[in-house]
Each structure stands twice: as structure tokens, then as C-alpha cells.
Amino acid sequence: MDSSVHLDNTVMQFGDFTAIQKTDLKIESGEFFSFLGPSGCGKTTILNMISGFLDPTQGDVKIGGQSMKGVPANKRPTSMIFQNLALFPLMTVAENIEFGLEVRGVSKSERKKASDRLLELVALEDSGTKKISELSGGQKQRIAIARALAVEPQVLLLDEPLSALDLKLRQHMRTELKEIQRKTGITFIYITHDQGEALTMSDRVAVMSAGRIQQVADPITLYRDPQTPFVASFVGENNGIRGKVLAADSNLVVLDCGPLGKLAGRSQGSLAVGSDATLFIRPEHFRLQSEGGMHTLQATIDEVNFEGAYLTLNANTPTNQALSIQLGTHQFSDSLKKGAPVSLSYNELDAIVIAGEGHV
């Protein structure tokens, strides 16, 4: 069954405000797809358009190749897990799960069978007669999943469903969600501002900012090859250093970073000589110069944090640019202390240069 979702040149406007800029995106059938972005970036609006709570101002949403124009929310093959779960507190657990089937006129015995099967799937076999208020946070979470799956949707929409859980449970639920997605084989569309969730679970991630999709890629590509300054700084930690392009070929770019000297990195897209660009170096790609490396930066240590497996340093360059550095614990020495100078180096293939003066 085709359960792909196609945002076909979709635009969403509220009055003068454009919540979603023109977007053309195809989410494959059976994919675990995430929208990642800070709050207010429009990701929930996308979910509302797919589920039918909002009609796009322009363009169309297609599910399984079918246009959803004029199809109301209750007739769409989607099912949503709400941020606050929105379980029905006046119904029992089983009634909650069976609600969607009751609506579809499924007989009582069939409904019971379905809810038993789903309760087993989420490992809460004996909870059918319980009230919602008797469940723990994690259990409620699973009942919400069971309720959404009961209607056998083609697409499951998840609106930050893990945000209310504590850290440990959240990590556990990540694995569980991934497992349920594998078992059911339906398309999961996941909305989150938590990049850990997006990167660990998703097949592909769309990073959004201000109503625009910045980049769509698998998690590894997103981390290694961010295409916009926003993605570079939003996904994972990054140090951005601004400069002007001195020389560029298809692989490498050399930037003139003023007092910091000439710094090079892999080029992302074509860069014209003389244009503004930003060099991004991830904290873990810094080394102490004593260990070698092609490009060096001088800085003064501001803070040293010992984290067990690694060290983090906050340092300032002479141009007063704050740097975040992560070093292996074996590199620890007494000379790394607040106020001390440090020579840092990096491998130019680990750094990336992106056009524009992005977030730093």
C-alpha cells in the first residue's frame, strides 16, 4: 500500500503571516521522517495540514498519491499522537483504543480483539479496564500509540509525543517507537525540537527554520554536510567563524578570517571569491596543536569542564570569538586551565565552509 505523503508546493498563510513558505517535499511510504526545528518554525503547522486540521493556502497535500483537498480531518488516513496525548479521561483504556473503531462501526467483539492485540503490542495486556488517570506517564504514552494505531492509519503523525516524559523513559520510548514503526511498516512523521530524537529514530530529517525547510537528509549527512548555516549550527554543536573567500576549488575553500589568519575547509556549494562565508568546525574536531593538524587557531581558555569520557573547553580567540572545544580525556594536562593560552588545530576535511553569514 502506498502511504507516501507529498507536500505539493504547499503554502500556509495566516493573514499576512506566512507560516509555511512554498514547500515541495515527498515523504516515502514506510519512512520514519522527522521535522526538526525550534518552536515556532512551522513544524506543527505542517502536521496540521497533513492531518486536515488546516487547509493549505496554496498547493496540496497528497497521501498515497491522493489529493486531500476537501477531505475533512475525520476522513483522512492519518492518525495523530498529540503532544499532550489527549487521551479521553472519561473513557477506560480499552474504550480509548476502540474509539476509532467504534466510529467506523466495527462490532464490539472485533473491537475487543483489536484492543487486546494493540495492548499486547504496547505491552500493557491487563490495562484495558483501567482508567486513564490510573496510568503512569509512560503507560499513557503507549496507550496513545495504541489508540492511534487502532484505526490502521497509513500515516502516523507524532507531535513531540515524548516531550513530557523523563529522560530515561524518553530514551526507552525512542527504541520502542522505532520498533513499532518497523513492525507496522507505516509512514511515521515525527515532529520535534529535540535533535537527539530526530537523529536517532529517523530515516530522514527535515530541518526547518522560520517556515522554510532548510535541508532534508538522513541524520549522518545532516550532521556531516549541513547545507545552510542554520543547519550547521542547529544540528549538533558547532563553531562558526566568519571570513571572506580567498580561493575556492570544488573541494576546498580558503577563507581570510582577518586576525585569525587563513583557514580552510571543505566547500559546501559553490563559493565566489570575495564573498562572505562561514567556516564551521565541530567541537570534537579540534585537537591540541601538539598533536598535529594543518590549521591552527590561538585562543585563551575560559573554562574547563571534565565530563568523564571527554573534556570540554570554552575558549576565546583574540577576536573575541567564543569557541567550544571537546577533547579526549587523554589530552588533559595541567596546562589546560582558565586563562591559559591554547593552540588548537583541526583537519581541513573536518571543517565545512558555507556561504553567508549564518548563525554563529
Binding site: S51, F53, K75, S79, M80, F82, Q83, A86, V103
Partner: protein
């Protein structure tokens, strides 16, 4: 309760508050009711005979109602019509309350609430009397309907119960809208979205999600409307026809026209018992507890 008051306000003020509430309850609620019951159990006597050998307790005044077919039929008609008023008011108020609580933008909701409240700044008698004018045989409503061609001769709205029903629905609509509005407003909008998302149409969404949540508010609104309707005097007096007398009018007649306070007290007490009993029954049928209403 006294302890809490004491810890919050100190013992002086706490005694004052409890004392005032006590005086209010005993002197203004309980004692008059007991006095009414006392009246209702005694015969209507000349002043000279009061306290004399004829002044004995009996249930004669209560028996009067059951021996008077007309009064009894008006008694039950009042009950039935009050149910009808309550049902109609609910029917009109629920969509308005839902609209105000979940559909309208805050500005629109505020405007609507204002428009609903403003007419109630006018005295109830005047408001009711304006309905008398609107519904009159040669009144504006008939003129409008005639003018639009919906009817070819005027309708007598005011004969029969129609006028009374319209007047009462209008008079008590706020008592229904506000409790329901409050109840629906406290419903998480995601609950409605979740029901829609799971495939429920509007009717089922209301039936399974919104109404169960709003049940305490609906119950409160219905009880208030029913009590007000059953105890209403002005609306049936103004908008009723001779054929649509309300039981309150008969009570009034016993008191102020028949001069028989004892008989009137018995009738009033029967109306009270009937209303409370009926409400208790309905609450039981719809599984609404007193605790729900107090929420």
C-alpha cells in the same frame, strides 16, 4: 471549615463570618421554611380561633391539591412545561456555549457575551413584556412573517403555552449558557481534535467527548433553569393565556386573593418537594453527583 477560617483570618473574624452565615441560613432560609410548613399543616382560621381548639395539625391542606383535578393538572403541567423549557433552553444554549468556548476568537467571544448580557440589564418584567408586544396578534413578528409571505394570517402565539415557553427560554438562557460555557471551556481542544482525527464526525465528537466532559455544567444549567421555570411567576402571568396557567399563579391566588395562607403554603411546599424530587431523580438517571455540580 471553622479551623481553616480561623487560621486564615484569626478567630475574631472567623466567628463573625460563621455567625453571619449562620444567621443568614437560620433566619432567612430555614426558619421561614419551617414557618411555611407549620402554616401548611394548620387550617385557615379566623384570628380569634388561632390557638384555640380548632387549631390542630392535619394534612387537609395537602389533600386539597389531590382532590382538585384542575389544580392537579396544572401542577403536572407546570412540571412538564418546565421540563420542556429546560430542554429547549439547553437546545438553544449548547451550540452558543460551544461556539463561545471553542470556535470563536477571544474578541468575538467577548463581543457575543456582551451582546448576551446587555439585555439582562433591563428589568425582567420589561423584558417579558417586550415579548408580549413582539408576539402579539398584531405585533411585529406576525407583521414580519406576513410581510415575508411565510403565513397568510397572523398566528396567535400568546394563546396556549407557546408564548410562555418562548419567554422563559429567553429569560433563563444565561443561566444555561454560562455553566455550559465554563464546562466546555475547560475541555482541552486537543480532545476534540483527537476525536476528529480518529474519524469521529461532529455529532459523535460532541456525544462522546464534549458532552460527557460538559455534563456537570449541563446539569447545573438544567437544574437552575428548571427551578426558575417551575417557580416563575412573571412570565406566565404576562405571556400566558387563561388556558396556560402556571402552578405558581395558583399559589399566588391562595395567598393574596383567597387569603388562605395555609393552603398556599401547602401548595408551595408541594411544588418545592416536587422540584427537588424531580431533580434528584434526573441526576440519578444521568449519573450526576452533587460533587460534580459543585465543581
Amino acid at each position: 471549615m471553622f479551623k481553616q477560617l480561623k487560621s486564615r483570618f484569626g478567630s475574631g473574624l472567623a466567628v463573625g463570618i460563621v455567625g453571619m452565615v449562620g444567621v443568614w441560613l437560620i433566619a432567612l432560609v430555614i426558619l421561614p421554611q419551617i414557618l411555611m410548613i407549620d402554616y401548611s399543616l394548620r387550617p385557615n382560621l379566623l384570628p380569634a380561633d388561632i390557638g384555640g381548639p380548632k387549631d390542630t395539625f392535619s394534612l387537609v391542606n395537602y389533600e386539597t391539591l389531590f382532590n382538585n383535578k384542575i389544580h392537579l393538572s396544572i401542577f403536572f403541567k407546570t412540571l412538564w412545561s418546565s421540563v420542556l423549557v429546560t430542554a429547549l433552553t439547553l437546545l438553544v444554549s449548547y451550540p452558543i456555549a460551544f461556539y463561545l468556548a471553542k470556535v470563536a476568537t477571544p474578541q468575538k467571544a467577548a463581543l457575543c457575551l456582551l451582546l448576551l448580557i446587555i439585555p439582562f440589564w433591563i428589568n425582567e418584567i420589561l423584558r417579558t413584556f417586550s415579548w408580549y408586544i413582539i408576539l402579539a396578534y398584531k405585533g411585529p413578528l406576525n407583521a414580519l412573517l406576513l410581510g415575508l409571505g411565510f403565513i397568510d394570517r397572523p398566528i396567535r402565539f400568546l394563546s396556549g403555552d407557546g408564548g410562555v415557553l418562548v419567554g422563559m427560554v429567553y429569560a433563563y438562557i444565561l443561566f444555561m449558557i454560562f455553566p455550559i460555557y465554563n464546562a466546555i471551556e475547560s475541555l482541552d481542544t486537543n480532545q476534540i481534535k483527537a476525536a476528529r482525527n480518529l474519524g469521529a464526525g461532529w455529532i459523535r465528537t460532541h456525544w462522546r467527548v464534549v458532552i460527557p466532559h460538559a455534563k456537570p455544567g449541563i446539569a447545573t444549567g438544567c437544574i437552575m433553569t428548571f427551578m426558575l421555570a417551575a417557580g416563575s411567576y412573571a412570565v406566565p402571568a404576562l405571556l400566558g393565556s387563561p388556558g396556560s396557567r402556571w402552578f405558581t399563579q395558583i399559589i399566588y391566588n391562595w395567598f393574596f386573593e383567597g387569603g388562605n395562607w395555609n393552603q398556599g403554603a401547602a401548595y408551595a411546599f408541594l411544588l418545592l418537594v416536587m422540584c427537588i424530587g424531580f431533580i434528584a431523580l434526573v441526576m440519578r438517571v444521568f449519573k450526576v453527583g452533587l460533587g460534580d455540580i459543585a465543581k
